[in-house]
Symmetry: C2
Subunit: 461 residues, 2 copies
């Protein structure tokens, strides 16, 4: 039942695909009329017989968007899942793909949101525009919960509607003239947002990489930490730990090397700690635990995977005052301007939820949900281990990175979907370094995870 519900909600998400199909119309008249001249309506005959106007504006398509390959990964997976549903309408599809939380949000958190919603109907409880940077109390609470030991202050925290939005706002902040490095494999929003901002060259099909991006290969051989001696200097380094998709958390020693590398190169490190609360060994939970990081790093984080806020939308970005551009100008000051111009703050109701998450009861409840997903992770790891597959990640992250050496990851994705009706994520969707791997997410109801693992055992026994 729950599996079916999940299916339905995802099929909604691919609603745009229907629309996207329509540009397959072949236009008979491709003439471009000149700017400044009156362009009449030029009629064309579409295939096969629908009549359409073919008026075109004289605005050129943004060439950076034309560089992007296919769709953004996760909508593409949703599309394939919907196609599978059409083909197998009776299948009990289980999604361990998109990395979407499935467990109810603890009541201590939702009741705070409901309370704030009700208060908005009262004269004293109503509030309009909040600070673009987030409510002072929430910023203070994030600072004291996550950064008290490293001395980051409330006014170095910018509350957002989620890490994905902030990654793009950071790209707008940096502009088109920066170079960037990224873990390979990694969460696709780093690369795609860089392409959109025009920081990259064209996609090179032979190597499956964009020009002008340094791909830092992370493999089982190097313990999923890049060989920095082979990484060229770039302005920006995106680094996600625990990593999505490999599930690998960098150690203190590794992060110390990374911070030193950034410092040596005068680079800015954008550190994504969206999964830090899944860490259960002594790997750092924040880049700011590393001495000197405040002078080189920005940290992006999120309530999504902690509190099940993937739909509620709340996150934050920490930019220390000590982080300066080459001319001495504080990075946070420009980011503040971006936030004030391009954003109006996260929803006040979501912010009330964030505050409840960081209360003692809320925090404990969040950690219980994290613990639940970690048990799922163990079940998935045990399953693939028992089948003789090498698995990585899992320990400090809700993702299991399963190795299928020598196989195409899209092919494995399709095989699993076709034969077990389980949605996973093909490793190559995260970069060429993900080829030969499949990411299995531990976000799911327990019974679905167990059932998926039963089907995996049947398929790969």
């Amino acid at each position: 039942m729950a599996a079916i519900q999940q299916s339905l909600s995802t099929s909604i998400s691919s609603s745009a695909s229907t629309f996207l199909g329509q540009n397959k119309l072949r236009f008979r008249n491709q003439n471009v009329s000149m700017p400044g001249k009156t362009s009449g309506i030029v009629r064309c005959v579409a295939t096969p017989s629908t009549e359409k106007t073919s008026y075109k504006t004289q605005v050129s398509r943004n060439e950076n968007l034309a560089k992007l390959q296919a769709g953004y990964l996760f909508p593409e997976i949703a599309r394939r899942r919907s196609a599978h549903m059409l083909k197998h309408p009776d299948a009990q599809i289980i999604s361990l793909g998109i990395g979407d939380t499935t467990e109810p949000i603890p009541e201590v958190i939702t009741s705070a949101m409901a309370k704030r919603a009700h208060e908005l109907s009262t004269l004293n409880g109503y509030s309009g525009y909040g600070a673009e940077q987030g409510e002072k109390q929430l910023r203070a609470s994030i600072a004291s919960t996550y950064y008290a030991n490293v001395g980051l202050e409330e006014n170095e925290i910018f509350v957002s509607d989620g890490a994905k939005s902030d990654i793009s706002r950071l790209q707008v902040l940096f502009g088109s003239n920066v170079s960037m490095a990224v873990q390979d494999p990694s969460y696709p929003a780093y690369v795609d947002s860089s392409v959109i901002m025009g920081q990259t060259g064209q996609f090179q099909k032979d190597v499956e990489k964009y020009g002008n991006i340094a791909y830092m290969r992370c493999t089982p051989e190097n313990g999923f930490f890049p060989d920095l001696s082979s990484v060229p200097r770039t302005d920006i380094i995106f680094f996600c730990s625990p990593n999505n998709p490999t599930g690998s958390a960098a150690s203190r020693e590794q992060l110390t090397k990374l911070v030193q590398f950034a410092k040596d190169n005068g680079s800015i490190l954008v550190y994504d700690s969206a999964y830090a609360m899944y860490i259960c060994d002594d790997s750092p939970k924040s880049i700011f635990e590393i001495p000197g990081a405040k002078e080189v790093a920005i940290e992006v984080s999120s309530f999504s995977k902690y509190a099940g806020f993937t739909g509620v939308r709340l996150g934050w970005t920490a930019i220390p005052k000590a982080l300066l551009y080459s001319d001495g100008f504080p990075v946070a000051k420009d980011f503040n301007r971006i936030v004030c111009t391009s954003f109006n703050g996260a929803s006040n109701i979501a912010q009330a939820g964030g505050l409840a998450c960081l209360s003692p009861d809320g925090f404990k409840a969040m950690m219980d949900v994290v613990g639940y997903y970690k048990e799922n992770t163990q079940i998935i790891m045990d399953t693939f281990n028992s089948l003789g597959y090498k698995v990585y990640g899992g320990k400090n992250a809700p993702y299991v990175w399963v190795h299928f050496p020598g196989r195409s990851s899209w092919e494995v994705f399709s095989e699993i979907l076709e034969k077990t009706h389980v949605v996973t994520t093909p490793g190559s969707g995260f970069g060429p370094g993900g080829e030969g791997f499949v990411r299995v997410s531990a976000f799911g109801h327990r019974e679905n995870v167990i059932e998926a693992c039963r089907r995996f055992k049947e398929l790969y026994k």
Copy 2:
């Protein structure tokens, strides 16, 4: 009491200013170490005596951000308001400045949000990632409520966290190589986001304009509709009606001319209809009421000023399938990619609120609140009329545009703040065409509006 509460919430909003002040430190060592070399920590002595490290990254500041003048308008007003509060701690400050809604959200709407929040704690009611484009039901409801007569469909609607965010996403969509035109005066986010994306030249202090933007002057003389024969061709035309700040709504005849102008030039019109529900004459409420607009226009809109959602955050952008780039590629297809890469959908709780807004009861309740603000508008208009000032707008918008011929609008702003403790908005903050005007917002509790008007009468009698 209410006035004081408003003051407190705004003082939070300027919390970043404290931080921003700190870059006034003068660094002793401005040497730039070279990329690739190990830069040691360079100590410097800050003024007057605090010791600070002055390590700088080797990343150049985005030159587009350096072009921006001072702060974004509204945080700047909040800053001046806070300074005024410090100077006059006992003053009863009334804000008719920032355009922020003040009246409670009708219960039919907040209870739908509270219900959705509670449901997130249940197994069946929980939902994670929604569609990036917005929930299907809300998109359908927006389409049927606002666009049924013009034939726009659900999949041409993209739900957002507000118009301001979408304006920036549209700028990212268009990229750096487009030229743009804007009403002068207008909502500053159009120009500022254009500057950030690198579409403009430097700010030219003599004319108070950025290079490479066409400012379309809107004055009492031209009925606040630009003389299009003097406007050069640009790729993008931003147009807000009812206009913020002038409060003027363009007529059907004027908008027909505007659409024809866009068509003649092959331009894309970005039409901001955030105040359309304040229209009470027969001015079009949507650009798509104009024949042919679907081939040239995008419409950005918002629940903020209708439902008091300035803090809840919900809006939408309509991009018709028929809108094509010069190569025939659909604009909406690229915007869909932007939305999927840079955004993860509006908060599901806010979307539940949006759906309630568009229910019969919710819609009526929203219109009642709009009606309340419109009564405020009348009070403000009557006041300035009685004092012999020429006022514009007001009829179809919650803004009154008061003419102070020959005077600096910042000077009038300061005079009003200093002598009446009322916060307004200086017209020149909206562009050079706003000089000599002050915008008075009708968003406020009735008793505050009446009290502000009493003080205006005292000051300008």
